[in-house]
Amino acid sequence: MSPDRLIYMANQIGKFFQSQGHDKAVPGIAEHIRKFWDPRMRKAIFTHLDAGGAGLDPNVRDAIATLRNT
C-alpha cells in the first residue's frame, strides 16, 4: 500500500503517544499498529523501514522496528 499514507497514519499514532515519553510511547505505538493494521499494511511499513524509513518520526521508527522483531 502507498507508503506515504501509511507513514502519515503511523506518525499520527505517534503524536498521540508523544506526551507519554519515549519509554511508554514506543510500546504504545507498536501495540496499536499490531492490533489495528492488517498484515499487508504492516508488511508495507516494514518494507519502508528497510528502505531507510524516511519520514517516520523517531518514536514511530523505534516502534515499527520493535514490532518487526517480534
Binding site: K15, K35, D38
Partner: protein, 958 residues
C-alpha cells in the same frame, strides 16, 4: 393477533416512594403519594369518564367530566386534579354525578358534528365513548345558534367555522371537531417541548392555534405526532387513517431510524401499515416519537424499491433481472475467482448498522468463516469507532454508561458536538423536559444549534472553532484541576491514582489554560471557566456527545478527554451522570457489539486471542484467521493498489456517505466485483455488479441495540416484498460460496450469539418477549440487564486517565481555502436520505443548503438562495446558500442528505489517528458565486443515470 390496547390512566405515574390508601367505590386502593384519584381508580379497575385527561400530560381539570364525590367534602371535584390521600372515601358514580356528566356531554355534543359514521375516528373516538359511558340519549340544544360545526348557518357565512388544515403531509387538523381539551397543546409543551401550539381566544372563541394562527406546516410544529396521539377526537388525525380506516391488529417493534431506538406499535390492517404509534412501555422513548419514526415509513413501499436480484458483468451494462440462485452463483463465482487470483484476503464486506444484530452477525460470520479473512467493517467506522476505542481504553467497555431515563436525574448536562433536537429528537424532548425542571445545559458546538436556544431553554454556549474539541476539553480539565474541583475521593477509590497524577500535572500546565488556548479555540476563557465550574460542582453531571466529537483527526482523543472529565468530577456509576454517545443509526451499537470491526469478534474481543478464537472455531467449525483485517478506508486504499478486489456491502451507501467521493469512486471502479445488498439502487450500486434486494424492518424478525445498549425486538408485520429477509439473503450467498449456515429463525442466531458472547449470555427472544427489552451486559450477574454501568467500579478495574495533548488537524485554512466547513443533520432527513427522501419529509427539506454567516456572504457577493461553488483541496460542488448567523464568521455548514449535493466530494481523507474515522467535521473551503451544477456534478449525474438502467425483460432473456 389483536390491537394492543394500552391503558390510559388519565394522569402520569407518581414516582413517590410513600404510599397512601383510600377507598374508591367501596374498594380499598393503595397508590404512591401524589397519584390522582382518577389514576388510583383506574389502577383499581374503575374508569372514571374523562376527556381532557390523558396520562401523557399533566392533569388540567377543564372538561368537568371526571367529577367525583368525596365523603366529608363539599362539591364535586375533578378526579384528575384531586390527589389520593389516606382515608378518603370516594364515590365515582352517584345520581348527582350522573346528572352533571350528562349535562356536560350534552353541551359538548351540541357543538360537534354528528357525522360519526363517516368520521375517520369512528371506532377510536373518546368523545363517542364518553357519550356512551354517561348514557347520553338526547341533545336538547340543537345546532341553530352559534357553533363551530357548519360553514354556513341559516344561509349566512359562519365566521366561527374554520376549514380543515391539510398542510402537514401526515395529519389533518379539523377545527370543527375540536372540543378544546388542550391535550394537543399540553403534549406539544410537556412531551415534545416545542411549544408550537396554543389556545387562542377565550370562552366560546377558544381555538387550537399553531403559532400565531398559522397553518401546521407554516408554524414551528416539528410534526412529532404527540398532538395527534393526544387528540381524543378526529380533530388531529393521521392522513393514513383517513385513507385506510382503523387498524385491526398491531405488533410492537423498534424504529429503524436513529440510535434512540423508539418502540412503536405497528398498527395494521392485514399486511398494510395504517400507522406507527409510539409505545408507552418503550423504555427508550416512553411513548414519544419524532417525524421520522412516526410518519416517514412510506419508503418501505416506495415504487423505486428493487424487488428482484440483478447482475451484470460490467457497470457500463444495464442491470439484468435474474433469479436469486443466479445472482448468488454469479457473486460466489466472482468472489472465489478473485480469491484464487489475488489471494484469500482480496475480498471483504461491510455490515450494516441499519440491519438487525442477527443479520450483522451473519455477515461478519460469512466473512470470517466463509471468506476466511477478517476484512469486515461497518459504517460505525465513519461515525462512532472513536467511541469504541476511547471508552474501552478508559472505562473498559465500548459503550455509553447510562440509560435514557438517567437524564431525569441529571443536574448539569453537557452536550458536545451533537444536535439532539435534529438527530435524536426523542432524547432531546426528554432532555428538554429535565431542563424545564431546572437542570442546566452547556453546549459545545461551532454552530448555534436548536439546543442552544429554544422556548424555555437557554444553554451556555461555547462556540468553539471546528477541530479544537481536545483543546477546549483539556482547558475545562485545567480549570477543574487548578481550582481544586476534582472529586478526589472518587478518583482515589475508583481510578488509577498515579495515572491521574500524570494527567492532572499535564492539564494543569499553563499552556492548557482557557486563556492560553482561546486563540486557537475561539472560546471566551471566562465563559469556559464558568462552564467547567458548573459541570464540576452543579450536582449530577452528564455528558452526551455525537459525531462532532468523533469525526475528527483527534476523535478518539476527544472521547478520552470526555471520559477523563467524567472521572475527575466523579460523574460515573449512578443515575443522572455518565458518558453517553448518541448513536447515529438505529443499530450502530449493535453492529459494533456483533463483531463488525476487523480486529474483534462479537463482544469486543480481539481476533488474536487464541481462547476466543477457539470458542468460535468450535461452533463455526472452521479455522479462523488470527490477523486483523482491513478497515473501510484501508479497503479503498488496497483496492486502488490492486490487492482488494471484491466487496459485499449490506445496507450502507459508502459512495454517498464516505469522505472524498472521488477516491471512493476510484476504489469501487478498481474492484472486480461489488455486491450491493440494499432496498434501493443507491449511489454505491452505480459501481456494483450484483444487486441483492433487501427487506425493511417491517418485513423481518430480529433485534436492534440502541445507544443505551438496549436490545429490542424488531417484529415482522408483513411478508418481505423482495421475497427474503436480509438474514436469509446472507445465508443464500454463503451457501453458494460453499459455506453452510443453517437457521430457521433469527431467534436461533441470537441463541448462538448468546452462547458465544459473555455480555449477551442471558439474552434470548423469550426474555425479550417477557421483559420488553434488556440492556447488555445481560448475564448471570445481571439477568435483567444493566441500565447503568460501572457502579462501584469500572469494568476494566481501575478507571484509566490518559493524557490528551491537543494536536491541530493538518487540514488548515489558508489564503486559498479560508473558511472551515463542518457538516451535520436536519430533523426531517436521515443520514444519506435514502429512506427519508422517499417520503413526504421532503416538504421540510428538499435540498442541502450551505449555511454561511452574513459577513462572509457579503464579502463574496453571495445573497440568500444564490448558487455557490464550494471548493476544497479534494474537490468542488455547488449548492444554494442560506445566510444565517447560526454559524460564526469563518465557518460554513451543510447537511449531506441529498446525493446531488455531493458534500463528500469536498471532504478530505484525513482521519482519526486511532480508528481512521474520517474527519468530516473540518474541511478548509472557499466559496464563490456560481451559475449552477459543477462539471463533476453533471458527469456524476450522467454516470448514475446510465448505470441505473435495467434491461427490459425480453432483452434480459437474450
Amino acid at each position: 393477533m389483536s390491537l394492543i390496547q394500552e391503558t390510559d390512566f388519565g394522569t402520569p405515574r407518581s414516582k413517590s416512594a410513600g404510599l397512601v390508601t383510600l377507598t374508591i367505590d367501596g374498594r380499598s386502593v393503595t397508590v404512591p403519594e401524589g397519584t390522582s384519584i382518577m389514576r388510583a381508580a383506574m389502577e383499581a379497575g374503575t374508569q372514571i369518564p374523562k376527556l381532557c385527561a390523558t396520562d401523557m400530560v399533566d392533569a388540567f381539570g377543564s372538561c368537568r367530566l371526571c367529577l367525583i364525590e368525596i365523603e366529608g367534602r363539599a362539591g364535586t371535584p375533578a378526579s384528575c386534579t384531586s390527589p389520593a390521600m389516606n382515608g378518603l372515601v370516594v364515590h365515582t358514580q352517584t345520581e348527582r354525578l350522573k346528572k352533571l356528566r350528562k349535562g356536560v356531554m350534552e353541551l359538548y355534543i351540541s357543538d360537534h358534528p354528528l357525522d360519526c359514521l363517516t368520521c375517520a375516528a369512528n371506532g377510536d373516538c373518546e368523545l363517542q365513548d364518553m357519550a356512551g359511558a354517561v348514557g347520553l340519549r338526547d341533545v336538547r340544544y340543537g345546532y341553530e345558534g352559534d357553533n363551530h360545526v357548519f360553514a354556513r348557518t341559516n344561509g349566512d357565512i359562519n365566521a366561527a367555522w374554520m376549514p380543515k388544515d391539510e398542510s402537514n403531509p401526515y395529519f389533518t387538523y379539523d377545527p370543527s371537531k375540536c372540543i378544546v381539551c388542550s391535550r394537543c397543546v399540553r403534549a406539544c409543551e410537556q412531551v415534545q417541548g416545542t411549544f408550537a401550539l396554543t389556545i387562542s381566544g377565550r370562552g366560546f372563541d377558544s381555538r387550537v392555534s399553531p403559532g400565531m394562527s398559522e397553518s401546521f406546516l407554516g408554524s414551528e410544529c416539528v410534526s412529532c405526532g404527540a398532538c395527534v396521539q393526544a387528540c381524543p377526537t378526529a380533530t388531529l388525525t393521521e392522513k393514513s387513517v383517513i385513507e385506510i380506516g382503523q387498524p385491526e391488529h398491531s405488533m410492537v417493534t423498534t424504529c429503524a431510524y436513529c440510535g434512540v431506538g423508539c418502540a412503536f406499535k405497528a398498527e395494521m390492517r392485514g399486511e398494510e401499515v395504517v400507522r406507527m404509534v409510539p409505545y408507552k412501555d418503550g423504555k427508550a422513548n416512553r411513548g414519544h416519537s419524532c417525524v421520522k419514526g412516526r410518519f416517514a415509513w412510506g419508503y418501505t413501499t416506495h415504487k423505486e424499491r428493487i424487488l428482484k436480484p440483478m447482475m451484470r458483468d460490467d457497470i457500463s451494462e444495464p442491470w439484468r433481472e435474474v433469479s436469486w440462485d443466479q445472482a448468488f452463483n454469479f457473486a460466489a463465482a466472482k468472489f472465489r475467482g478473485i480469491q484464487q487470483k489475488y489471494g484469500r484476503d482480496a475480498v471483504g464486506g461491510i455490515t450494516s448498522s441499519r440491519c438487525t444484530n442477527e443479520e450483522t452477525y451473519l455477515v461478519q460470520k460469512l466473512i470470517r468463516a466463509g471468506f476466511g479473512n477478517n476484512n469486515v467493517d461497518t459504517c460505525a467506522r465513519v461515525c462512532h469507532s472513536p467511541t469504541g476505542y476511547g471508552l474501552s481504553t478508559t472505562f473498559g467497555t465500548s459503550a455509553g454508561t447510562q440509560d435514557f431515563d438517567s437524564v431525569e436525574h441529571s443536574d448539569v448536562v453537557m452536550v458536545i458536538g451533537a444536535n439532539p433536537a435534529s438527530a435524536h429528537p426523542v432524547f432531546a424532548s426528554r432532555l428538554k423536559k429535565r431542563l424545564r425542571q431546572g437542570a442546566r445545559l452547556i453546549v459545545l458546538d461551532p454552530r448555534r444549534t436548536e439546543m442552544v436556544e429554544a422556548p424555555h431553554l437557554k444553554a451556555q454556549h461555547l462556540p468553539l472553532l471546528p477541530g479544537t474539541n481536545v483543546a477546549v476539553l483539556t482547558a475545562m480539565a485545567h480549570v477543574i484541576v487548578t481550582e481544586g474541583l476534582v472529586d478526589e475521593a472518587f478518583v482515589r477509590e475508583r481510578c488509577d491514582w498515579s495515572e491521574f497524577e500524570d494527567w492532572a500535572a499535564f492539564v494543569a500546565l499553563p499552556n492548557n489554560s482557557p486563556e492560553a488556548t482561546a486563540i486557537s479555540t475561539g472560546v471566551d476563557p471566562t465563559e469556559l471557566r464558568v462552564a467547567a465550574r458548573l459541570f464540576a460542582t452543579g450536582g449530577n453531571g452528564a455528558i452526551y456527545y455525537g459525531l462532532g466529537v468523533t469525526e475528527h483527526s483527534q476523535g478518539s482523543t476527544t472521547v478520552i478527554a470526555i471520559a477523563n472529565l467524567a472521572m475527575a468530577t466523579g460523574n460515573i456509576g449512578r443515575p443522572g451522570v455518565g458518558v453517553n454517545p448518541l448513536r447515529g443509526q438505529n443499530n450502530v451499537q449493535g453492529s459494533c457489539d456483533m463483531g463488525s470491526f476487523p480486529h474483534e469478534l462479537p463482544g469486543y474481543r480481539h481476533i488474536s486471542g487464541d481462547a476466543v478464537r477457539d470458542q468460535f472455531e468450535a461452533v463455526w467449525n472452521v479455522k479462523l484467521n488470527p490477523e486483523p483485517g482491513l478497515r473501510i478506508p484501508n479497503m479503498f486504499d488496497a483496492a486502488i493498489e490492486g490487492s482488494f478486489m471484491g466487496l459485499y456491502v449490506q445496507g450502507e451507501d459508502i459512495l454517498q456517505s464516505d469522505p472524498n467521493t472521488k477516491h471512493v469512486v476510484a476504489a469501487l471502479s478498481a474492484m472486480e466485483c461489488v455486491i450491493v445488498h440494499d432496498l434501493f439502487l443507491n449511489e454505491t450500486a452505480n459501481y456494483a455488479h450484483v444487486f441483492l434486494p433487501g427487506s425493511t424492518f417491517l418485513e423481518k424478525d430480529g433485534t436492534f441495540t440502541n445507544a443505551e445498549r438496549r436490545i429490542q425486538r424488531v417484529r415482522k408485520v408483513m411478508t418481505p416484498r423482495n421475497g427474503m429477509a436480509d438474514w436469509e439473503v446472507t445465508i443464500g450467498l454463503a451457501r453458494a460460496m460453499g459455506f453452510e449456515m443453517h437457521y430457521d429463525h433469527p431467534s436461533q442466531i441470537m441463541d448462538e450469539i448468546a452462547a458465544l458472547t459473555p455480555t449477551f449470555a442471558g439474552v434470548s427472544y423469550a426474555k425479550l418477549d417477557e421483559l420488553g427489552s434488556v440492556q447488555w451486559p445481560c448475564n448471570e450477574k445481571a439477568p435483567e440487564g444493566t441500565p447503568v454501568m460501572h457502579i462501584g467500579g469500572f469494568v476494566r478495574g481501575k478507571g484509566k486517565f490518559v493524557v490528551t495533548e491537543y494536536i491541530p488537524t493538518d487540514e488548515r485554512t489558508g489564503p486559498r481555502y479560508p473558511l472551515l466547513l463542518t457538516t451535520g443533520r436536519i430533523l426531517s432527513q436521515y443520514n444519506v436520505g435514502a429512506q427519508t427522501r422517499r417520503t413526504d419529509n421532503v416538504v421540510w427539506h428538499d435540498e442541502d443548503r450551505l449555511e454561511i454567516h452574513p459577513h462572509d456572504a457579503e464579502q463574496r457577493g453571495v445573497r440568500d438562495g444564490d448558487w455557490v461553488r464550494l471548493a476544497s483541496r479534494a474537490g468542488e460542488t455547488t449548492l444554494r446558500a442560506q445566510i444565517t448567523d447560526r454559524v460564526a464568521p469563518g465557518v460554513v455548514y451543510t447537511t449531506f442528505h441529498h446525493p446531488d449535493t455531493q458534500a463528500n466530494v469536498i471532504t478530505t481523507e484525513y482521519s482519526d489517528w486511532a480508528t481512521n474515522c474520517p474527519e468530516y467535521k473540518v474541511t478548509a473551503v472557499q466559496i464563490s458565486p456560481s451559475n449552477g451544477p459543477s462539471d463533476w456534478q453533471k458527469t456524476y449525474e450522467e454516470q448514475a443515470r446510465h448505470s441505473r438502467r435495467i434491461a427490459a425483460a425480453s432483452e434480459a432473456a437474450e
